[in-house]
């Protein structure tokens, strides 16, 4: 006859097989209904008794994943030194030791830089020019210089147009009327506007022009450097001593060849005394060393450059729309200062708009940007009008409900005048021949591992949106598929 215990034993088998090793353990279990686990599940979870495991032996490491303050793991990394991260961010790499030397690469020289025979060729930049370009911060971190053995540029059709302008300015110089040619570089994003500006700078360096370049207009107007009202100016203009000193220092380094022989011919009224028999480079060095005198030194330098017999001048600026609006600076009445009231910007814009002419002729070049550009409806409108003039369609009408900057409209009004020498230089896509030429250069450098044939060129040219050079580089050098 089966006992009651036996029956209960049988029915509890389903609950917990491990609990039945001995009859004694069975009686220690809580009594629960058969085939239901809810009571056990909802019962309070049993607290684990601390210290149940044996303490680790002395000298034995245990895994400790808890975060604790003051432990060595919290802040073990060494912080970068002051300025180190910025230096890393702004670092310009112009050479890649792993890229192959391109044997067919010829350098640009003083004689061939303006020649039309270069069209469609990739030409190397000679060492001194690279140094000078570095000094004026013409190379940008976003450009692909770091892929190749040494800096080289494609002489595209727009570069030839620019070379013609340089030639025109040079040929006009010996005659009576010194010619000032003014151009605004426009075009799509990554179409090579900055690189074309760099090519213009290298032409000027090679032809031994005097170069003053504003490497990034944003830095002038974003109120990161000090400013002060210029005494005796009406309406008030503002000088930027630190920025001007930095600009003078860049100019001094970049135009080394000119400053070697340049003498002071005029009398200048400066706050800082000049040493006897000072050369022009000493004058500029004073401006670099004493930022408070930098603007008067800049004016003195300009006076010297205005004398007859001095070289042609290239004035260049990058990121034009930043200086075609109010700056971030405030005047004493807490109203924003217009960028054209900053002395350096005024100097540039006066020459761009044609209010002043370059004394010995030369070129004023301004590049627009499509990636770092505040909205400037007035500038865009003037550029659109100039484009319409070029393709001979109807000139667009200004939308009166838009808030345009009147001073920008005034400064760029020559863009609508076909007779004026202010014009745009549109940087478009490459032709297929140009694309082939630069892709052959990529391949010879070992950065494009593919046979460069018509099929590949057409494919990449189309992928790059009809030969946009930045996209072409992205498709063929940067993307490794």
């Amino acid at each position: 006859m089966p006992s009651a215990n036996c029956l209960r034993n049988f029915s509890q088998l389903s609950l917990d097989a491990t609990a039945h090793s001995t009859a004694a353990s069975r009686f220690l279990q809580p009594r629960v209904a058969c085939f239901s686990t809810s009571a056990a599940r909802y019962a309070n979870p049993q607290m684990k008794k601390k210290g149940m495991t044996a303490a680790p032996k002395k000298g034995v490491k245990t895994l400790n994943t808890k975060k604790s303050k003051g432990a060595s793991g919290a802040d073990a990394g060494k912080r970068p030194a002051q300025g180190e991260r910025k230096a890393q961010r702004k670092r310009i790499v112009l050479s890649n030791n792993n890229a192959l030397e391109v044997s067919s690469l010829k350098d640009l020289t003083k004689t061939n830089v303006l020649s039309e025979a270069n069209e469609g060729l990739v030409m190397g930049l000679p060492e001194p020019v690279v140094d000078a370009l570095r000094d004026v911060e013409a190379f940008k971190t976003t450009q692909g210089w770091s892929f190749f053995r040494r800096p080289a540029v494609l002489v595209r059709k727009e570069a030839i147009q620019l070379a013609k302008l340089f030639k025109a300015a040079e040929e006009a110089a010996p005659g009576k009327d010194k010619k000032t040619i003014r151009r605004i570089l426009t075009g799509n994003r990554m179409s090579g506007k900055s690189t074309l500006l760099l090519q213009g700078l290298s032409m000027a360096f090679l032809r031994q022009w005097f170069v003053i370049s504003l490497p990034e207009c944003q830095d002038i107007v974003n109120a990161h450097t000090d400013y002060a009202p210029l005494e005796g100016s009406e309406p008030t203009q503002y000088t930027q001593d630190t920025y001007t000193a930095a600009l003078l220092s860049q100019t001094l380094k970049a135009n080394k060849a000119y400053f070697e022989n340049a003498k002071i011919t005029q009398k200048h009224d400066l706050a800082v005394p000049l040493p006897a028999k000072a050369k022009l480079s000493d004058l500029v060095a004073i401006g670099v060393a004493n930022p408070e005198a930098s603007w008067s030194v800049f004016k003195a330098l300009w006076t010297e450059l205005s004398q007859p017999g001095q070289p042609q001048i290239l004035l260049a600026a990058e990121g034009l729309s930043h200086i075609m609006q109010n700056s971030e600076y405030m005047n004493a009445d807490v109203k924003p200062i217009h960028a054209h009231d900053l002395t350096i910007v005024r100097h540039f814009v006066d020459h761009l708009s044609g209010v002043k002419q370059l004394p010995n002729g030369g070129v004023v070049l301004a590049a627009t940007s499509k990636s770092n550009a505040p909205a400037s409806p007035a500038m865009d409108f003037r550029i659109k009008s100039a484009e319409a003039l070029k393709i001979q369609t109807s000139i667009p009408q200004w939308n009166p409900y838009t808030n345009g900057d009147a001073r920008t409209m005034e400064a760029l009004k020559d863009l609508e005048n076909p007779k004026a020498d202010l014009d745009i230089l549109e940087v478009g896509g490459l032709s297929k021949e140009e694309a082939r030429s630069i892709m052959e250069y990529y391949a010879e450098s070992g950065m494009l591992r593919h046979q460069v044939n018509d099929g590949l060129v057409t494919e990449k040219w189309s992928l790059a949106g009809m030969g946009n050079i930045g996209e072409l580089e992205r498709a063929s050098v940067r993307a490794r598929i």
């Binding site: 109120a223 990161h224 450097t225 000090d226 400013y227 002060a228 971030e328 005047n331 004493a332 807490v334």
Partner: protein, 125 residues
């Protein structure tokens, strides 16, 4: 160390920040002062010329800031209290003054609504 209005600031402090450390000066007023003396928004205290620091101190000394500003606020509250107004009573009790509910969320009122509002200030060097 640079002394502005009797308080010392390390040279790496932003001028804006150092000005706004005074009771009664916020973003607008600091912007106004800096524009008046042509100090750019990112200027550090160490980069100021001595003359500018003196000008700043002179300007600050004519303004109602720090203890003067605190006293004005406290006087206003005290006046309400002395008149026996509801607002004065609420201030004295540390409760919301402008009809907010008191069932929950009156921590801000508890913290701020006092007769001695604004604390006692920093120690001037």
């Amino acid at each position: 160390m640079v002394f502005i209005n009797g308080f010392s600031f390390t040279e790496a402090t932003l001028v804006k920040r150092s000005l706004e450390s005074f009771f009664g000066i916020g973003p607008k007023v600091s912007q106004k002062i800096m524009a008046k003396f042509h100090i750019h928004p990112w200027a550090k205290v160490g980069a100021l010329k001595n003359a500018t620091v003196m000008d700043l101190t002179a300007e600050l000394s004519t303004m109602k800031i720090e203890n003067d500003a605190r006293r004005e606020v406290q006087d206003n509250i005290r006046r309400l209290k002395d008149m026996g107004t509801y607002r004065g009573r609420r201030h004295a009790m540390g409760l919301p003054v402008r009809g907010q509910r008191t069932r929950t969320q009156i921590n801000t009122a508890r913290r701020l609504n006092k007769v001695e509002r604004g604390g006692s200030g920093r120690v001037q060097m």
